[in-house]
Structures are given as structure tokens and as C-alpha cells.
């Protein structure tokens, strides 16, 4: 018994010395946590973002690092397991002492991280389009809110150029993002005079692969003599069989256009897009945008990943903008302290890859342009419509009565993510 105690104590001492050694080393670098799934169902999308962060760190270090120190990536694998996201966040902040985390893809993983990151006062950059209805003091949302993607896309479908749709089909995967987005869209469509009889809503499980019935139903719904369009919040793997079925059943974009919010260049990479020409996607970034900044980003990416066929997509741009803003804010604050960097983030600007400037607002959402692209036969998008300027991201939707009242503003006098009145209002 005594012997074991001794061994344990010895092991403890060794562990302690190892820990102090890493701590001493840590003083020379700034640690950046990367919290993206590298295995499991979401690995397909998230691995790319892990590589994007590593590329950005690499670029920054080539420029001499930040505040005279090198950046060091701490990569963990939450394995598409939502509770594990929370554990890994705790590990990153408490054990690895990271100064900032870039991570998450699905809304459910972000929701699982929220309590931990708020408790430990960490900082998370979340780079994916999402359903809104949230603003945390510890999270910066660099992807699109519904008013930066879903609402403009529906506007386009109802416009003259988009074919003046009179009936809308809302197809989605069965989880929080599609359900919330469709709730917002339904109330928005009502305000545009499209009533429930002309709206069809359908949800399918993750990874759904047999789309025959649903595509046939859409066809039937569309044959009522009114121009019909489909708004798709189908996420992940289910998209490939869905588009294959559309192509095979001969649904042409000029008859029933499908606009998708989760289909980008990366998802199309596994598909023959010839039968899909003309179907749409709404994003803040497309790889095909002809801009010098974009061309050099694509070149850097292809060199970094050592594969000439790899594509770039919207969440990568969101990661890029978030990372740039964070480095600028750190430089401005002269420190990596979370509270100081947060203050420096407000009003921070970064040039978009597609032209124009992204601005971080006090509700922790970006102002970004909205683009709508048509799928081309080479798997790229042809931009058919874009907003005149940047759209300010809305944390709370104006089209849900209970949300319209709420304000997210993390500066004085509000200092609140979901309040009807400022916390520090003048008496």
C-alpha cells in the first residue's frame, strides 16, 4: 500500500514538472484552440475548417506572429459527439490555456459549448450560417444569420428575376436549424401574402437517402398551376441523394427552382452537377467570385492543402474573417485577454474576399453582403443576384413576434444579449 502511494506521488511529481514545463513554454506562444470534428458524421464538413484555421495560423506566423509571439494551434477532436464539444471546450480553456477557440458547425454543438464558454469566460468564433435567436457575450458569429441568407433568398424567389414563385416548399432535416429557419420563413411568407395553403413543409432524418416519395410529392404540389419553388435546409449527407433524385426525376430548375442554404462548393464536389444547372444557393461567399483577394485566398489554400482540386466555401471565408478580426483586435488591445479583445472587436473591419468590408457589430454578428448563385455544370456557382451593400446580421428575427422585441447589444448601456430594455438605462 505504502509502495503504491510512493509511486503515485512520484508520478504526480513528474506530471507536475511536465505541466510546468509546458506552462513555461506556453508563455512564448499564443495558443489558438481548434474545436472541429475530425471523425464522425460532421467530419465531412468540419475537417476543412480545421485546415483553414491551421492555414491562417501558418500565414500569421510567416508574418512574424502576433504581439511578437508565435501562434500555436491546439487541435482537439470532439468526434461529432455533442456533449464531447463541451468537455473539449473545458479541456482547451482550463488545461491548455488557449486564448481563443475557433470551432463548431452544427447548432446543437454550439449550444452544448455555450454554458462552458460563458462560465470560463472564453472566446469562441463560430463560422457557420445558423438560425439566429441567440447572442452570447463569449461568442462571435461570423456566419450568416437568417436575415443574411434565408430572407434575401426568399425575396429573390418571389421577385421577377427569380420567377415570381407563388407556392413554396420548405424541405429540411429534422433539427433545430431548419425548424427555426422555417418558422421565420413561414411568418415572412405570410407577410408577403403567401398563405398556409401554398406552403408545404417537410422534415426528414439526418442522412435520409430515399427521396423518391418526397420529390414526387413536390412535383405533385407544383402541378397546381402556380409557380412553385423549393427552399431547402437539408443538411449534410442527405443532399447528395436528394439532388440525384431531383436530376433523375427530371425536375429542371426553370420549372421548380431549389434554393439551398447548406449546399456549397464542397457538397457539390461529390456530384455530377449537369442535371442540376440553375438550382440555387444563397451564401455570403462563392468560390467563383472574381476578385483579387479571393484569387489569392484560393491559391494559398490549394498550396497549403497540396491538392489542386480542393474548393473553397462560405464557412471558410467566415473563418478567415473571424481569424483576421481576432488578430487585429489582439493587436489593438495589446493583449490576448478575453475582455480586452472583446472590447476591441466592436467595429473591427476586414475586407471580404468577395469585395466590400465586413464589420463586427455590437450584437456579435457581422455585416456581410448576400449573394445568390446558380449551380453550373462544373460544380461552381454563377452569381445571379447580390445585395447592394452589406446586410447587418440580426441576432433576433424581426419576423417572430416574441423575438422582434429583443435586442442584442454588448456595449453600454445595453450590455445584454436578449433584453427588452438596456441594463444600465438612465433612470
Amino acid at each position: 500500500m505504502k509502495k503504491t502511494m510512493k509511486i503515485l506521488a512520484g508520478a504526480g511529481a513528474i506530471a507536475a514538472s511536465v505541466l510546468t514545463a509546458t506552462a513555461a513554454q506556453a508563455a512564448d506562444t499564443i495558443k489558438v484552440g481548434v474545436l472541429h470534428s475530425l471523425s464522425g458524421t460532421m467530419a465531412i464538413s468540419e475537417t476543412t475548417l480545421k485546415d483553414t484555421v491551421l492555414m491562417m495560423i501558418d500565414e500569421q506566423n510567416k508574418k512574424g506572429g502576433l504581439l511578437g509571439k508565435k501562434l500555436e494551434a491546439v487541435v482537439v477532436d470532439p468526434a461529432s459527439n455533442w456533449p464531447l464539444f463541451a468537455e473539449k471546450t473545458r479541456e482547451l480553456i482550463e488545461k491548455n490555456n488557449v486564448d481563443v477557440i475557433f470551432g463548431c458547425w452544427t447548432s446543437v454543438s454550439r449550444k452544448s459549448v455555450l454554458p462552458v464558454i460563458e462560465e470560463l469566460n472564453g472566446m469562441l468564433f463560430y463560422p457557420v450560417q445558423y438560425e439566429g435567436e441567440e447572442s452570447s457575450r463569449n461568442v462571435f458569429y461570423t456566419g450568416a444569420a437568417p436575415n443574411q441568407q434565408a430572407i434575401p433568398a426568399v425575396d429573390y424567389l418571389l421577385s421577377k428575376d427569380g420567377g415570381e414563385a407563388k407556392r413554396i416548399v420548405l424541405l429540411g432535416t429534422d433539427y433545430v436549424y431548419p425548424r427555426t429557419t422555417n418558422k421565420i420563413l413561414r411568418s415572412y411568407l405570410h407577410s408577403k401574402g403567401i398563405m398556409d395553403a401554398d406552403i408545404m413543409e417537410n422534415y426528414t432524418p439526418f442522412g435520409h437517402s430515399d427521396w423518391q416519395t418526397i420529390v414526387a410529392d413536390v412535383k405533385k404540389f407544383a402541378s397546381a398551376g402556380k409557380k412553385t419553388a423549393v427552399v431547402s435546409t437539408i443538411n449534410g449527407d442527405a443532399n447528395v441523394p436528394f439532388y440525384k433524385e431531383l436530376g433523375n426525376q427530371g425536375i429542371k430548375a426553370e420549372d421548380i427552382p431549389v434554393v439551398a442554404f447548406s449546399v456549397g462548393e464542397e457538397e457539390l464536389a461529390g456530384l455530377d452537377t449537369k442535371p442540376l444547372v440553375g438550382h440555387l444557393a444563397a451564401w455570403n461567399y462563392f468560390m467563383s467570385v472574381d476578385a483579387p483577394a479571393n484569387a489569392s485566398f484560393i491559391k494559398t489554400w490549394k498550396t497549403f492543402i497540396k491538392d489542386d482540386k480542393r474548393v473553397t466555401n462560405d464557412p471558410m471565408e467566415a473563418t478567415y474573417i473571424g481569424f483576421k478580426m481576432w488578430t487585429q483586435a489582439v493587436e489593438q488591445a495589446g493583449s490576448t485577454d478575453v475582455d480586452a479583445v472583446r472590447q476591441a472587436m466592436y467595429g473591427q473591419t476586414v475586407k471580404n474576399l468577395t469585395g466590400g468590408t465586413a464589420v463586427m457589430n455590437t450584437n456579435h454578428h457581422l455585416s456581410k453582403p448576400v449573394l445568390i448563385g446558380e449551380i453550373q455544370d462544373d460544380g461552381q456557382f454563377d452569381i445571379v443576384w447580390k445585395t447592394d451593400g452589406e446586410v447587418v446580421g440580426d441576432a433576433w428575427s424581426d419576423f417572430l413576434p416574441e423575438s422582434a422585441k429583443l435586442t442584442a447589444d454588448w456595449t453600454f448601456p445595453w450590455v445584454c444579449g436578449n433584453c427588452e430594455k438596456p441594463l444600465y438605462a438612465a433612470q
Binding site: 465531412i44 432524418p205 427530371g250 461529390g270
Partner: protein, 544 residues
């Protein structure tokens, strides 16, 4: 009487086909034509739409070439001066052609030419206009296509061309389609009650959801009571016939889902059903088969692009051999130490499935791989009744039955099959008869895995090829085997098809999520009543 603008549009189209008939390219014509072509390079879509209208109105016979180039994305403009050119692939180089002279344009490099972009609205307009322009084509297929496009466009300005085309048409099928387009236009736009009644009568003979929609629209909006009533009656009769077709469509979808389930499950019917191994890595064998297909296609794409249509014929035996070999390794390396210990087998094979997934993810990356459909598997048999039978589904049904048939032959008619059954029924007796039961086990497991690999080839045609492919099918496969009766191929067949059909008939009412839940609950209840499934069989798994 028709409205004035309508009459104007008729005149325009009348001039179009006069142009079509007599339009030899006089110099004056050529200028008008090249102006109209040049106008296609407009800044906004409204101007482009006007330019398309104007170009078709020139009546020039070259207009159809230019417009179809615009539709297919092969119409470009030169960046320096905006000259509109056609692009043609000849070998590996792209050549640019001036549409008015049909001569090659010199000194234009490919990168200097930019594509003239169109959107869905213009695409729809182009198809309609091209339809009217090709109604008088010599090619019957083109005319048929044109008739369908004109029907879809339902534009009264096309009526004169249509009437002219009907008068000339000799092919009865194409003529039928033209008459349908004509009746649709008359029903909607004419003000002559008698003509409209006749049109409604004609349309009532078709079985087509679009026609039902048109009749429904007229029945709701027409101010003419006679037309309104007839349209309503005709719509009811069309709907009645459509319902029967829709039942057939549901049945086909059910059979098709059943064939996918059958394919996924039939390998498991061997490894789990016959041998009693709870093989959680079964789905990964399917996934390996799909990746083999990807590799085969990759080699063919880079070395023998002409043979692409044969890629699946090569992939099927290749996948069988690859996954069969993996199966032998797995049986000899892991499973043979675990016979009779189902819990350990379950955990070991589940661990193996995670390892295989991560191995593939490391080798090929986490993203989807593109597996192409050969031309004979793309598209569909489309009937005008709204019933669509996609070729890939039809072939998968055929393939699944063929695989099951071959398997039945192997187990019943070959020496190996005999030994396999002998070992299953009584191992000790088989051993004493001189059968090397260890090797029979290994080969049986290899056969099951190989069949899973062949299923992977078929599934790569309808699902995405990613490391997660197998997980989607593992639960369904066990469901089918347990429901059908462990160890019975016939049970697997009946189980797969009945689950597929029930699922598809529930889906329209309950939705995809609830439908699946209902099926699962149904199976649980069924297993309570008959724990051995539909067709129970004696075997090692039963004894164990």
C-alpha cells in the same frame, strides 16, 4: 375577340414562320440578325429577354443555333469589343465562331471570351421560343420536344405556328402532343365557347397532372358556366385516372426501397443469418465496395475514358474480391476466436467498423467522393401520367434480385454451398465427414462480405460515397434479417420488400420521420409474437 396586344404577338410569330419558310439570308437580313445577336450581350436580364424575343422575331434560320447555344452556355462575348461568338469544342481546343458568318473568329484567345450568363427565367423563355422555332424541324424527336415545350409555355402567340405544324405532322404521337398544346392554349385564351368546350374535351382524354392543374384553374376562374362545368367534369376524370397511376408510382417506390434494403441485408443474411455472427462491421463492407467503385472509376476516367459506361461491370467483381478478401482476414484474424461469444463479437466488430471508417477517412479524406452514373443508369422513363421510373432504381431492383438468385444457386447447387449448409446444421457431423469446417467458416464469411461489397457498388449510385455510408444501412440490414427470419434467404427477400412497400405507403401520410418510427414499432410488436421472424429455420444460431 382577342385583345389587340395578343393579335400583335400573333403577327410577330406569323412573320417568324414566314421568315422560317422563305428566310434566305439577304444582306439586309444579315445585318438585322447580327444586330439582334449582338443585343444578347446586354447588362441586365430584362434587356436580354427582349433581345431573345427580337432575335426569334428576325425569323432567321440561324437564330435557333444561337439561342440553343445561349441555353447550353456556349455563347460567349469578346471582352475587348463585346462581339458575341459561339464556342465549339474541337478536340481539346475551344474555337470561337462568328454566328453571322459561321466563320472562325481569328485572334481571340479562350480566356478573353466570357460566357453570356442567363438565369432560370431566361432559360424557361428560351425553351419556349426554341420550341416554337423547332416545331417544324425535320427531326421527329425535336418536334416532340418542341411540342412539349410549347405546351409548358402555354403562350397564345405560338398558336399559328402550332396550327401550321399540326397540319403538316405525320407522326401520330407527336401530333397528339401538338393537339394537347393547342387545346391548352385555346382553353385558356380563346373566347369562343364552342372551341373551348372542344378543347376541354380533348384535354380530358390525357392523363397528366399538368392538364389536371390547367382544367382545375379554368374550373375555378372561368366566367363561362358551360366551360366551367365541363372543365370540372374533365378534371375529375383525369384525377381519377391519375390516382391509379399514383398508386403504381408508390408501389414502384416501395419495391425500389425494398431492393435497396435487400441488397444491404443479403450479405448480412449470410454472416449473421447463417453463421450467427453479430457483424457490426457489415455496413463498412458495403462502404468498402462503394470505395472500390470509386477507385475503378478513377482509373477508368484517367486511362480509358471511353469505357466509362462499363465501369460498374468491372467494379462489381472487383468489389466482391476486395471485400471478400477483407472478410477472410477479419474471420481468420478476429471472429474465429470469438465463436459462441455474441457480446464480444458485437463489441469487436463494432470497434472494427470504427477503425475501417477512420482508415478510409485518413486515406481518402472525409469529403464525399464523386461516383458517376453510367449513361444507361441516368435519367428516367417518364410517362406523361406523372409516373417516373428512374433507370438507376430499375437497375438496382434487377441487380438485387440477380444477386439473391446467384446466392441461392451457390448455396443449393454447389459443393461449397452443400458444405456450408452441413456445417451450419451440424458442425460435429460435418467435421467427422472430412469437411474442414474452419475454412468453410472463413469462406462463408468472405461470401457474405463480398456480397456486401457488391451491394456497395449499387448503393454508390444512389447515395453519397463517404466514410459514413455503411452506418446508414447497418440498422436497416439487421431489421430486415431479423424480421424475415434469421438464416433464411427467402425470408430476407420477403422481409425487405414488405418493409420497403409498407414504408413507402406510410410516408405520404405520416412523413419520413414518423413513417420510419411506425415501421420500427410494428417490427418490435411482430417480433414479440414471432421471435424467429417470418420464416424460422433451424441452424447454428437457433441452437446457440
Amino acid at each position: 375577340m382577342l385583345s389587340k396586344t395578343l393579335a400583335m404577338r400573333w403577327l410577330v410569330v406569323l412573320s417568324v414562320f414566314i421568315g422560317l419558310g422563305f428566310g434566305s439570308s439577304t444582306p439586309a437580313h444579315a445585318d438585322e440578325f447580327s444586330d439582334a445577336v449582338q443585343a444578347l450581350n446586354a447588362d441586365n436580364n430584362t434587356d436580354k429577354a427582349a433581345a431573345i424575343e427580337a432575335l426569334s422575331a428576325t425569323g432567321d434560320e440561324r437564330a435557333a443555333t444561337v439561342l440553343s447555344a445561349l441555353l447550353n452556355g456556349t455563347l460567349f462575348y469578346r471582352q475587348s469589343d463585346g462581339l458575341v461568338v459561339l464556342s465549339k469544342e474541337s478536340g481539346n481546343v475551344t474555337i470561337l465562331i462568328d454566328p453571322s458568318t459561321m466563320n472562325e473568329v481569328a485572334d481571340v484567345s479562350g480566356s478573353e471570351a466570357k460566357k453570356i450568363r442567363i438565369n432560370n427565367k431566361l432559360r424557361g423563355q428560351l425553351k419556349g421560343v426554341l420550341g416554337a422555332l423547332t416545331l417544324l424541324s425535320k427531326d421527329a424527336d425535336k418536334r416532340q420536344n418542341a411540342a412539349d415545350e410549347v405546351f409548358k409555355a402555354n403562350d397564345p402567340s405560338m398558336l399559328p405556328v402550332l396550327q401550321k405544324a399540326i397540319a403538316r405532322e405525320s407522326d401520330p404521337d407527336v401530333k397528339g402532343r401538338m393537339l394537347r398544346a393547342q387545346a391548352a392554349i385555346i382553353l385558356e385564351y380563346s373566347e369562343d365557347t364552342a372551341a373551348r368546350l372542344k378543347a376541354a374535351q380533348t384535354l380530358g382524354e390525357f392523363t397528366d397532372p399538368d392538364i389536371s392543374a390547367l382544367l382545375g384553374k379554368i374550373a375555378n376562374t372561368s366566367t363561362d358556366p358551360e366551360v366551367k362545368k365541363l372543365a370540372k367534369d374533365m378534371q375529375d376524370s383525369v384525377e381519377g385516372r391519375l390516382a391509379a397511376w399514383s398508386f403504381l408510382g408508390n408501389l414502384f417506390q416501395g419495391v425500389s426501397l425494398g431492393s435497396v434494403l435487400l441488397l444491404a441485408a443479403v450479405g448480412l443474411a449470410i454472416t449473421f443469418g447463417v453463421m450467427g455472427v453479430i457483424n457490426m462491421a457489415h455496413g463498412e463492407m458495403v462502404m468498402l465496395g462503394a470505395y472500390t467503385t470509386f477507385m475503378v472509376q478513377d482509373v477508368i476516367r484517367t486511362h480509358f475514358p471511353a469505357a466509362f459506361d462499363w465501369s460498374l461491370a468491372i467494379a462489381v467483381p472487383a468489389a466482391f474480391l476486395v471485400t471478400g478478401a477483407v472478410g477472410i482476414l477479419v474471420e481468420r484474424g478476429i471472429i474465429r476466436w470469438l465463436y459462441g461469444r455474441p457480446l464480444e463479437t458485437l463489441l469487436a466488430t463494432w470497434g472494427l467498423s470504427l477503425m475501417l471508417q477512420q482508415l478510409i477517412r485518413t486515406l481518402f479524406g472525409p469529403t464525399n467522393q464523386e461516383v458517376g452514373n453510367p449513361s444507361w443508369m441516368s435519367g428516367a422513363i417518364e410517362t406523361s401520367t406523372g409516373l417516373v421510373l428512374t433507370y438507376n432504381r430499375i437497375w438496382i431492383i434487377v441487380f438485387s434480385l440477380a444477386v439473391l438468385g446467384m446466392l441461392a444457386l451457390v448455396t443449393r447447387k454447389t459443393m461449397f454451398g452443400l458444405q456450408m449448409r452441413a456445417v451450419t446444421q451440424n458442425r460435429a457431423m460435418a467435421n467427422s465427414m472430412g469437411i474442414r469446417s474452419g475454412w468453410v467458416d472463413a469462406l462463408t464469411f468472405a461470401l457474405g462480405s463480398g456480397i456486401a461489397g457488391m451491394a456497395g457498388v449499387a448503393l454508390s449510385q444512389i447515395d453519397n460515397v463517404s466514410p459514413n455510408l455503411g452506418q446508414t444501412y447497418i440498422i436497416d440490414s439487421f431489421m430486415v434479417v431479423v424480421f424475415g427470419g434469421v438464416g433464411n434467404l427467402w425470408g430476407t427477400l420477403v422481409g425487405a420488400f414488405s418493409l420497403g412497400i409498407v414504408n413507402k405507403f406510410l410516408e405520404p401520410y405520416a412523413g419520413a420521420v414518423l413513417g420510419k418510427i411506425f415501421v420500427l414499432v410494428g417490427i418490435i410488436l411482430f417480433i414479440q409474437k414471432r421471435p424467429r421472424g417470418l420464416f424460422a429455420l433451424k441452424g447454428r444460431s437457433v441452437e446457440g
